[in-house]
C-alpha cells in the first residue's frame, strides 16, 4: 500500500544542497486505493468484506497522518535550528520576520517536541531560546558537579529576609544563555498544546495563538482595567443575544451540536409540567397549644425549656 519514495533525482556532495533537495520533497503521503484495486484485493480473500477493508484503510490512513505530522515536526525543528537569521539579533526585540517564522513553525508542536528543539539547539552550541543568537552557558563541572546553587533577589528568602536559595541541576540552567532567555523559552513552552496535532480539532486556538513573552507583557500593560459594574455585565449579556432563537441555532451549528435527526440539539428536550392533583390553595399554618414552647427538635428539647420540678425530676410531659 505504501509507496516507496521517489528516487533522488539530484545527487550532490554539498550538504546544503542535499538538505534543500530533501526538504523540497513532500513527505510520501498516503494514496487511497481506487475501487478497482480494492475489488482486486478482496477477490483473493473470501472471508473479507468491503466493510473490513474500509475499516483497515481508515486506520491505515490515520497512522499515515500521524507519520506525516511527525515528519513535518522534524522538518520544522531543522528549520528552527537556523534561527535567528542574523548573528546580532536581540532576543528581547526579535525581527518581525523571525518572529512570524518561529510562531508559524511552532503550531504543530507539543511540549516534548519543543524540548527536542532545545536539546538540538544546545547540541549546536546555541541558546535554547530559538530567537537568541548567543551560545548557551557551559560551565566546567567539578567531580561532584551536576548541581548548583541559585540565589534569588534580595528579600526573597523566608519571611522577606535574606535571599532564597534553590539547588537546581546544572543541565536545567545550562540550556540557556541567561535567565531572561530561560524565561522567554519556557513562556513559549507553556502555551503549546499537549494534544498531538492529528487529534486537534478545527478552532483549537491553543498552540496556534502563541505570544512571545515581550508581546504578552506589552499586551498586559495596555489592557484596560477590568470594569465589573453591574450595568456593564448586563450590557455584555444582552449583546451576546442569548435569548435570540436564531442566534442560538447558529451557535449550536458552530459547536457541531446539530444533526439532521435532532434539529434542536443532541438530545430532544421536552418540558412537561407536573399536573397538580387538586386546586385547593394550602392555608397558612395555625397556632396550636403544643407549639407554645417550640416543642422538640427531632426528640430533643433545648436545655432552657427543660423545666425542673420542685423534686428535681425533669418533667417529661412536655417532651413526649
Amino acid at each position: 500500500m505504501a509507496q516507496s519514495g521517489p528516487s533522488h533525482a539530484l545527487k550532490t556532495s554539498l550538504p546544503e544542497t542535499y538538505a534543500a533537495v530533501n526538504a523540497q520533497q513532500p513527505p510520501p503521503s498516503y494514496k487511497y486505493p481506487t475501487q478497482e484495486e480494492q475489488d482486486k484485493y478482496l477477490e483473493g480473500r473470501p472471508g473479507a468484506t468491503q466493510q473490513h477493508l474500509e475499516v483497515a484503510l481508515e486506520h491505515a490512513q490515520q497512522i499515515q497522518t500521524q507519520k506525516d505530522a511527525e515528519d513535518v515536526i522534524l522538518n520544522r525543528i531543522l528549520e528552527l535550528l537556523e534561527l535567528p537569521s542574523s548573528p546580532t539579533a536581540d532576543p528581547a526585540a526579535p525581527s518581525q520576520e523571525d518572529t512570524i517564522k518561529f510562531k508559524y513553525a511552532l503550531a504543530p508542536f507539543r511540549p516534548s517536541d519543543y524540548d527536542n528543539l532545545i536539546l538540538e539547539r544546545n547540541f549546536e552550541d546555541s541558546c535554547g531560546y530559538t530567537l537568541c543568537p548567543r551560545k548557551y552557558r557551559k560551565q566546567d563541572r567539578g567531580p561532584g558537579g551536576g548541581f548548583q546553587f541559585k540565589y534569588g533577589p534580595k528579600g526573597s528568602g523566608p519571611g522577606g529576609r535574606g535571599r532564597s536559595v534553590d539547588i537546581v541541576s546544572e543541565d536545567r540552567v545550562e540550556k540557556w544563555c541567561s535567565d531572561a532567555c530561560a524565561e522567554r523559552a519556557l513562556w513559549i513552552r507553556v502555551q503549546l498544546s499537549e494534544k498531538p496535532v492529528w487529534e486537534r480539532r478545527a478552532g483549537d486556538t491553543r498552540g496556534t495563538a502563541i505570544l512571545l513573552l515581550e508581546e504578552a507583557r506589552a499586551k498586559r500593560l495596555k489592557a484596560p482595567a477590568p470594569t465589573s459594574s453591574v450595568s456593564s455585565v448586563v450590557d455584555d449579556l444582552q449583546s451576546m443575544g442569548l435569548g435570540n432563537r436564531d442566534r442560538s441555532r447558529e451557535l449550536a451549528m458552530e459547536r457541531g451540536d446539530t444533526s439532521t435527526i435532532r434539529p434542536d440539539g443532541r438530545v430532544n428536550v421536552n418540558i412537561r409540567e407536573n399536573q397538580r392533583s387538586s386546586h385547593q390553595v394550602p392555608g397558612a399554618p395555625q397556632m396550636r397549644p403544643e407549639d407554645a414552647n417550640g416543642g422538640t427538635i427531632e426528640g430533643y428539647v433545648p436545655r432552657e425549656q427543660q423545666r425542673v420540678d420542685q423534686d428535681g425530676d425533669i418533667d417529661l410531659l412536655d417532651q413526649i
Binding site: 516507496s4 533522488h8 545527487k11 550532490t12 550538504p15 522534524l74 531543522l78 547540541f123
Partner: protein, 234 residues
Amino acid sequence: MDGDSAHSMEAEREMTRLWRTFRTVYELLADRGYEVSDNELVLPLEDFRAKYADPLGYPDRTKMKIQARPTETMKLKYTALPSKANPNPQPDCGTIYVDFCPDSSGVGTKQVRAFNHLVDENNFHTGIFITQTPISPSAVRLLSGVPGRICEHFQEQDLLVNITRHELVPKHVLLSPEEKAKLLERYRLKESQLPRIQVSDPVARYLGLRRGQVVKIIRKSETAGRYASYRWVI
C-alpha cells in the same frame, strides 16, 4: 610526569574499550553474513593500536570506517520468493557501511544528516552509525527516515561485549523466504500465528532483522537436547 602517565592510562583505557567495540562490529558483520576476513575477526590489540592511534595515543575514530559486501548465502536469504508480479526478484541487501562518530558528546541532527548524506551519496544499502553517547530523539527519527536505505544506530558501550556470545542467549538463525514458506506449510500456519519478536530486541538489532522475517531460535534443552522455536519479527 604524574599527569602524563594519567593521560596515557586514560588513552590506553579508551583504546582498549574501542578495540573491543571494533571487534564486536566485525563479529556482527560476519554473523549477519557479510564478507569478513579471518584476520579482521581476530585483530589483536597491538595491531589495532598501530593502525588507529593518533600521536597522543587516543583512538582516531575518523579513520575507523568499515565497508563490507554481502556473501552469496546472505543474498539468497534476502531474496524474496518469485511471484507473478515479480518473477525475478533481486536480493534486498547490499554493501554495508559502518561509521564511528568522533564527537564525544551532543550528537544531534547535524552529524546524522552528514551520515545520511554519506550513505546516500555512496549508494550504500545499509549504514551503521556508532556514537559514544545517546543521540537525540529527532536524530533517531531522521536516521530511520532515509527512503530506500536502512540506517541503524548503536552506542559504543552496547557493542563492548558481543551479547550473542553469552551462554544464556540462544542461537538465532534467520530463515530465508523459502524456508519460511516451508515452515508455514509444514505447520499449516499463517505467519501471524507465530510467536513474535520485536525489531527493537537486542538480538534482533544485532542481526539487523526486518519486519516480516522469521527467525529460528535454537535453545539447549535438558530433556530434548535441542529445542527450536520460531519467531516472527514485528
